[in-house]
Assembly symmetry: C2
Homo-oligomer: 599 residues x 2
């Protein structure tokens, strides 16, 4: 994810992978609603949506001394009134499918993964500007070195890169709870095979069922509880885990079938039918630092946080670490933002990691306690689990007004909320939160319900974008030069996206107008210059049920406007309301936001 983002932004990267080949099965597999949105923003979601399995509900089963296994309840996983996600489901596809989508995109932009290459060490050059990265080419057993400005370790819980960040250690608890994981095609008369299922068996322990692509099911089988003793790793074989699962699921049948339609079904034993097997010990730990003091060495993903796999958070949180870091690196590498922008990475993502392990500890314990506790745990945390509830605290990038806007759903530090609008230029109905492609640029949405009565506001506000002495004018000119010299990574598919439509005013930002004035009332040529240039991001706020404006900032009067600064990763930076006379003031306010971190 990090490499894919950086390659798109036009930042040269070397991707070292110690493995000889792509991931072929198993591992992380659940994409949460926010992650699905992320892949949609990257225009990479199609094949995942086509090939993945969607889980919309969760059912709870229990057996006790006196009652055989029975369903205790069932609930919608992501209720609309709580989560409000455009894709309210978990999308299951094995990690290799997800990686493949990113790799294909990277390769389409001319960059390849360097495989068989194990990171060894990192040292700083005498001038302290560059890092020297040493890695071992495992195929030739030779050591090689690269000189680089930055190093990011996305190298898992046992991260080697983390060792080179002074004082960075995983801190937290490791429990005795351990789990076995099995992917395979299941033959069963258990009725809820295609829901997510949490089973609590009085005799054995807990099992989590997750439906998978290609007719498979993943079972997480508890090998020991926090109170019990940890199961010896040698004992936790697939056979052992399968036997436990069978015992827990009785009286239902539980067998594994061959994957595909091979006749070998009759001769192969059960264990050989498993596509993937893994086991792990639960711990909740977060690294004390996500970067070094010089802000050149970073860690992302499991290198920064470990926890259980039960709530399908790992890959999601990890990809969003990268998603957060990539655009900041781009702006700093290009000399357009202050280096202090990079410090917001740890501020923001370490906070999420802490939120995550806190939740995960509660979630694991609720799993032990059974249906009522688990259902409550879901209810309490469902926005966070879905990813749409991850919120950043106030920092350089997240500004709260003294007079906050509270009538709508948008908040600084939170994601844009999905809304339907009509694109003015071709009257295509679009999802406004997804319509502008991610090019590493900010988005400024100007919500002006009534164009006629707010003409003066718009004229004054827009004039600032033409002012070469303003911060935006100045940095935009430098951005233009930077992207001329180091253009964004292009793929043939860009011809169908036409990214240049979104950087007409500046490579730093896309300007967008959202209005309730009807298409019949105005022509593009009636608008101020910079909005004419932004013709692909003029939106008619004509949704019948819940207009975007009302949803985002609450109903506005005809002499009111809202301005929203949205970060490249889709988080709201700041938002504010303005009256008709305040066009200049609103422009000042925008300038102030960007001048705090742009150079």
């Amino acid at each position: 994810m990090l490499a894919c983002n950086l390659v798109r932004y036009g930042i040269p990267v070397v991707i070292l992978d110690d493995r000889p080949d792509k991931t072929s099965a198993g591992k992380a597999d659940g994409m949460q609603p926010k992650t699905i949105e992320t892949f949609k923003q990257l225009r990479l979601a199609d094949s995942l949506l086509r090939n993945g399995v969607r889980v919309y509900d969760i059912s709870f089963w229990e057996s006790t001394e006196n009652t055989p296994l029975h369903r205790k309840g069932r609930q919608i996983h992501y209720p609309d009134h709580l989560v409000g996600a455009a894709d309210p489901y978990i999308l299951l596809a094995h990690q290799g499918i997800i990686e493949e989508v990113l790799i294909v995109d990277i390769e389409a932009r001319g960059v390849r993964v360097t495989r068989n290459s194990r990171f060894v060490s990192c040292s700083r050059s005498p001038d302290r500007q560059q890092l020297t990265i040493t890695y071992e080419d495992l195929s030739t057993k030779t050591e090689r070195a690269i000189s680089s400005e930055y190093l990011v370790g996305c190298d898992g819980a046992r991260s080697k890169v983390r060792d080179f960040i002074p004082g960075a250690k995983l801190e937290g608890e490791i429990t005795n709870a351990s789990w076995g994981v099995l992917d395979g095609v299941i033959d069963t008369d258990f009725p809820d095979l295609w829901s997510k299922v949490a089973v609590r068996s009085h005799s054995v322990g807990s099992i989590l069922w997750i439906p998978r692509e290609r007719n498979m099911t993943r079972l997480y089988v508890e090998l020991s509880s926090t109170e019990g003793e940890r199961v010896d790793k040698a004992k936790a074989t697939p056979e052992y885990v399968m036997a436990l699962a069978k015992k827990a699921m009785a009286p239902f049948k539980l067998e594994w079938k061959s994957i595909g339609t091979s006749l070998a079904d009759r001769v192969v034993n059960q264990v050989d039918k498993i596509e993937w097997f893994g086991n792990y010990v639960v711990g909740q730990r977060v690294a004390s630092h996500f970067n070094d003091e010089e802000m050149q060495i970073f860690i992302a993903g499991d290198a920064g946080h470990c926890h259980s796999a039960l709530a399908a958070q790992g890959a999601n949180t990890s990809m969003h670490d990268s998603f957060n870091l990539a655009w900041k690196l781009n702006l700093v590498c290009r000399g357009l933002a202050k280096k202090s922008l990079l410090a917001t990475y740890e501020d923001e993502r370490r906070k999420i990691a802490m939120d995550l392990i806190r939740f995960d500890a509660e979630h694991c314990s609720a799993f032990e306690q059974g249906e009522a506790a688990l259902a409550k745990n879901f209810d309490d945390n469902i926005r966070f689990i879905s990813g749409v509830g991850a919120e950043y605290s106030r920092d350089l990038l997240t500004k709260v007004q003294s007079d906050p806007v509270t009538n709508g759903a948008l908040r600084p530090g939170a994601l844009l909320v999905p809304a339907k609008v009509t694109r003015y230029i071709d009257v295509n109905p679009v999802d406004i939160q997804l319509d502008i492609p991610m090019l590493g640029q900010f988005r400024i949405y100007v919500l002006v319900p009534d164009l006629t009565s707010m003409k003066r506001f718009l004229d004054a506000f827009c004039a600032r974008f033409k002012d070469s002495k303003s911060v935006l004018g100045r940095v935009s000119a430098r951005a233009q030069q930077s992207y001329n010299e180091k253009p964004r990574g292009k793929a043939a598919s860009d011809d169908y996206i036409q990214p240049q439509r979104y950087t007409t005013v500046s490579h730093l930002l896309t300007l967008s107008l959202v209005t309730k004035s009807s298409k019949l009332e105005f022509e593009i040529s009636d608008l101020p210059d910079v909005l004419q240039q932004s013709r692909w991001t003029l939106y008619l706020d004509d949704a019948y049920e819940k207009p975007c404006t009302d949803k985002w900032v609450g109903k506005l009067d005809s002499d009111q406007a809202a301005v929203i600064n949205v970060r490249p990763d889709g988080y709201v930076g700041s938002l504010s309301l303005w009256s008709g006379k305040e066009g200049d003031k609103a422009a000042d306010w925008v300038e102030e936001y960007y001048s705090s971190f742009l150079i």
Copy 2:
């Protein structure tokens, strides 16, 4: 489209193409709502939807002696209340992109197009069972022969195959109207560049603007009207057509830019910037026959019908010819249906072709007359233009009850109407008209709002499917044998679709239950055997606004059921309502429908 369908159904095909390579630009490019649905049914729509441009509206412009060019009006192309399509737009992507999707699918199933191969002749073997097809290998200039049961000419208006169908000739009118067609990137200040635009210029003639993928626009430029003299082909050069267009669009600027971002823009002249140029003379003609008497030689597409390109009907109608023919050929080739089933191809598709040229003649004439006439022509024909209004007359496959069902939208001979339901097994919300993959099988939808009060009906109705002496039982057994011997063409992507889930009861049909009973009220194990086997096609009719049942057949009482026979191409064959006691009678009625054409 024909080959893609047949390969999927498991029928061996040879595809002869006289061209050396794939289509690289231009030609047919507009997919209508019904065609988009067709590609969705084939699970092939993703890349088209991602890469195509969507046109939702049409605007009308006019100039007269006294008034310069101005907008006369604008309207939504496919208003929901008239068309009700799930995808209410024209999807523009050049013919090569569409062909590529089909070719990739064919190749994924192990079949390749035989290129450089020009059809020469066709003769019948002495036993009159087989055809001998002769073609020229253009790369080696040698003649080759194939022996085949069937020959289908999808070889355009100048079809060679048509010559081998005795008495088959294109009949109809050729007018003097001729048009030039240009694909390119346009530089203009004309404001409606991204709508479909009909321009009527007093001085020059008519122009039709169609937005295209990759920032292009297609212009259809009228070279002469029906009243005038036909423009000499030698005169109708791109330069001539571009000059006409510029004159018609004045005072707006109209220039062509280089495709892509090449700097060559400055030196290349305008004509070299056109990606594709074509011109044609308008005629409305339909072949007198679509097949020979022996029903072994067929024509499809332009070979059977020619007309103007203005309403973007050609490729759409042609693909639906093939879509109609393929599943019939499959059933007859497998010996499961009577040969007379093939006669319904001409009955159904020649009727549509006649409807089409009648509409096209009116459409061309309305184009001449200007905005009011054209807007009216659109209004009157919009369902037909979209493709969802194409209806088949009563024949072997389309049965009308003596007591027709008229409270809902479904009619024998018309398409299923889109509706949202929830799949029982995994509570995924789905579009019911698309959810069952197209495997060449019929679909039988049983709509039972109240499972409890209709238990007796369902038991009796479902029992018939287990009866080996019934028509369906008998033919299903033969179908099983046939598909064992000649399985459907498989692609790796099928692993993600799991087609075998839909042929559990029979390879001839997929049985489906639609109920308003809630998920909490019943388990799959409560249902009759054949519905338990059909677990992937049990639907909860829980749409908040307009339930599927109400939409399809009107509100039903709790002691009522509806049964709908849907053909493999998605057209309703027959439908009927039943009371709780009539399970056996409903089964008889189903048997009767299938026994009229199955062997």
